[in-house]
Subunit: 292 residues, 4 copies
């Protein structure tokens, strides 16, 4: 079954994800606050909406891939937002990373309007988004998730069913916590090794050839070797995501001592103007924090 | 070329490593402070020495796989220690985990006696030791490392040359820092997920199927699912190793904020009597630290 | 000039503060959600209101001394709340501890109704509240603060003018951060000393007789000597206050590494059921975190 | 009773302390590795020794006020060190800050030579050293401490008896932990307040007028107001002292989470070249760690 998909949010992630949906045979109408970001998709054959509500009216499935609560609130509730049109019976899939608490809030606001609400954030950044190899953390009514699975699999290699709406975001918090700690760990290790006189290449080869080797480290090894950090997942977004994680952990009463250590390092990085680099640039913060 | 190998230290790691040396055609004489730990190797065909010096006199290569500086000092310097016999021209390979500073100290004490000193700690625990799939972090004179490489490869799948003696231990510090942080990260993430109502199995499957999946997490997933922690690498040894890492980082002036967070969690675990469990039991410390 | 003061909130702090207002010649009508907490004041001569709005209608000055945003929202906005009556021209002084962000929010909600809004949290706990020796961190229009100063000085020994409304709460965050860190510091120091074999009394006498000696440590020394923690300022409220501090620091982009360390210790304490003890019971958390 | 006092170590602390000993009627012979540092005392009437052993031979009481273990080892064990002469029956008072472990080590090395060994580090920095208002943390045989008390009171206002030799150093660790945490706390609080728009003077006045006010904060308030940090107690020495504290806490199995947070901030400060400023310059590290 093919869908008419309103894809809202054309950032680093949204563009390649929408492209994959389109490439696998669905119809796609895109919207972005800055219309120039919709051009690559338009060239690729997507329709372009001038407002969120226009896209939503046309579609039977609405996908949100936005930077956070403020952006979602804007496309849902504000002038020309989704709720200024009829949305009854449509499925809305929020794939943006937000806290479980916000997810439940937006769900409670949307369901009275007859929307089927799914929560499906993703694990993976720019590269897996391009390859369609994201892991999709889906939650909401099980039958609705099952129905949307073929559509979701145009963007990812795997759909994990996490439970009621909100649980996908919960899983995303879990993954992001681990993601941040592992990146921090690799950078602390490489920085330590460099100061002990080991070669960066030797360090990374040793890590990658043993039980600590993983896709993430493989992806970032080149950045650490070259000392340049072209953006796959922006440092400032990671910082924001860690903030969501800490708030969620605090609400849940869960101890996250490494998470707290992490947050302070990332926050210092914002002050060092690293926000727009890849989040592997946390290595540069650690250099500042070390003796010179 | 086959060697006569004195293998000193029959702990969790030493036993399977010595077995692999023997199985690949070298002669082996083992020593352990508690002689009963040498029995499995004796049954397997190894000679058993009553003193360190007896093993060392007989061998051309001496391997140390001991718990730390105190144990090494004992077999080298004390009554019936290696230096009570002639060791000139023999190769001594220290595979125990110690700090780079101690490695250089022991090297400086041994070389005047004509010993060729190599430093070759390993990455990997019980299972890779049994499978002969350790990664061996070798340092010392390059030609001596090359000469010993076939012997080392009876125990491991890869030999990484790290530089002058001491640099193998430096690399081990780097690996241990990352190992500890990753284990802590996985446990913080699983603990958070559980408190958010996610299934442990779902969490681990999600982690393992994405870019964070790695051999370590694969090895420990069963422990986290069952909540039991049969020892592969003891919690108390990991705590000791993190202490070495922090000292080394401090001497090197390297910032290790997650490393410090880690240490406090592990130290609390010693107080909770987790020392003899696997170090994945850090999960239990995090539970204590969380709301109930 | 004497005032008719509506005093809302009869907790550990509110009761003695209202008593001092009354004792210095002002008329007082008190309100508390649980009416039995108003009895001591009634016996002392205060009027008792059945609803917040009743007290507010009668008074020219309304003082709030409540546990946090939820309690304030309830007495202001809900059924029988202040805003269900006319409040034009009255002065409302919020002395509860809340974040600067919430303070500005409540100010913006009240001012359109003609209220003169002041923000005046206090430094000091139960004992200074009884003695009338609180330090009052007042903010809002300067002339209004000046006008209210005599009334405020019935409760405290000093009024510090902090700036526009919200800045009193900002100062309170600053004081609470330091308060928490100092209490944590004293407890880490005493715990360390005890484990090193020093007498608790000797440690405290040494601290108190030198440049680190202060009113806070003097107040808590007895608790640490006896190992009992009768409540002056509840552990759970301190934990809540540290959370406000961290949120405020995060919004302001201010690094608070010791603050983060602190929060984790306090949160662990909630899990150990210390919430209702005095916050000096953080000592007990540190014992749990130490080797046994 | 007057003594012939060998005073070894003419740093920021040693000079004014030796001056006070001399001023109160004892004879004093000073030694310092760099002889020019002995000049102020020579002008004031002290004898100057060319070697440690010369001073020790002449004296009946030997006081050490040095920067750490290396400096002590040098004046005791090396060429022209104390032990190259007869020291039997003399009293040696180590007033330098070192760990309890090192104290016991040096005591064990000295006592076989007939020395009466006392351990008497001080609480207080440059100003109290000049005023003779230090608090002296004395340990060793009780009768020896009692005998030396009049001499010690020429340098301090109070002698606290802490127990067997080593316990004075233990107390010093306790005091230094608290000192570091309080300074860190004040600087985090002031930095937060400044970012919230509060005046530095208002913040400090509020702190000083309430239960958190203490001699330390009074001493440092001027530095924080002016943003300049003329050295009373050098940042680099505080960093070294925190390192001793953490090692001691680790050996004792005592949890010091704020202590660990502190250490990382101070270590970062060394990298920012703050080492020679007063340790209140930790404020500048926090600024670097905050958003700009």
């Amino acid at each position: 079954m093919t869908h008419k998909v309103a894809f809202i949010g054309m950032g680093i992630m949204g563009q390649p994800m929408a492209k994959n949906v389109l490439a696998r045979g669905h119809e796609v109408m895109v919207f972005n606050r800055h219309v120039e970001k919709t051009l690559p998709l338009a060239e690729f054959g997507a329709k372009v909406a001038r407002t969120p509500v226009e896209a939503a009216q046309w579609a039977d499935v609405i996908i949100l891939m936005l930077t956070g609560p403020e952006a979602i609130d804007a496309v849902v509730f504000e002038e020309n937002g989704l709720l200024t049109g009829r949305v009854e019976g449509k499925t809305l899939i929020n794939m943006s990373t937000v806290s479980p608490a916000y997810t439940r809030q937006i769900k409670n606001a949307l369901e009275p309007h007859g929307v089927v609400f799914l929560d499906a954030p993703v694990s993976g950044s720019k590269k897996p988004a391009e390859d369609g190899s994201l892991v999709i953390l889906a939650s909401g009514p099980r039958e609705a998730v099952v129905e949307m699975e073929p559509l979701l699999l145009t963007m990812g290699k795997k759909v994990v069913y996490c439970g009621d709406a909100g649980q996908g975001s919960a899983m995303k918090m879990v993954i992001n916590l681990l993601l941040g700690i592992m990146m921090e760990g690799l950078c602390e290790a490489v920085n330590l090794g460099q100061r002990l006189g080991l070669g960066t290449e030797t360090i990374l080869d040793t890590v990658l050839s043993g039980p600590l080797g993983c896709g993430l480290f493989n992806l970032k090894a080149g950045m650490l070797k070259s000392g340049t950090f072209p953006t796959q997942f922006p440092f400032k977004h990671m910082t924001k995501d860690i903030r969501f994680v800490l708030q969620t952990a605090d609400n849940a009463g869960a101890a996250v001592p490494a998470g707290h250590a992490l947050f302070q390092v990332f926050r210092q990085g914002l002050g060092q103007d690293l926000g727009d680099l890849d989040f592997a640039a946390v290595k540069e913060v650690l250099e500042t924090m070390s003796d010179r």
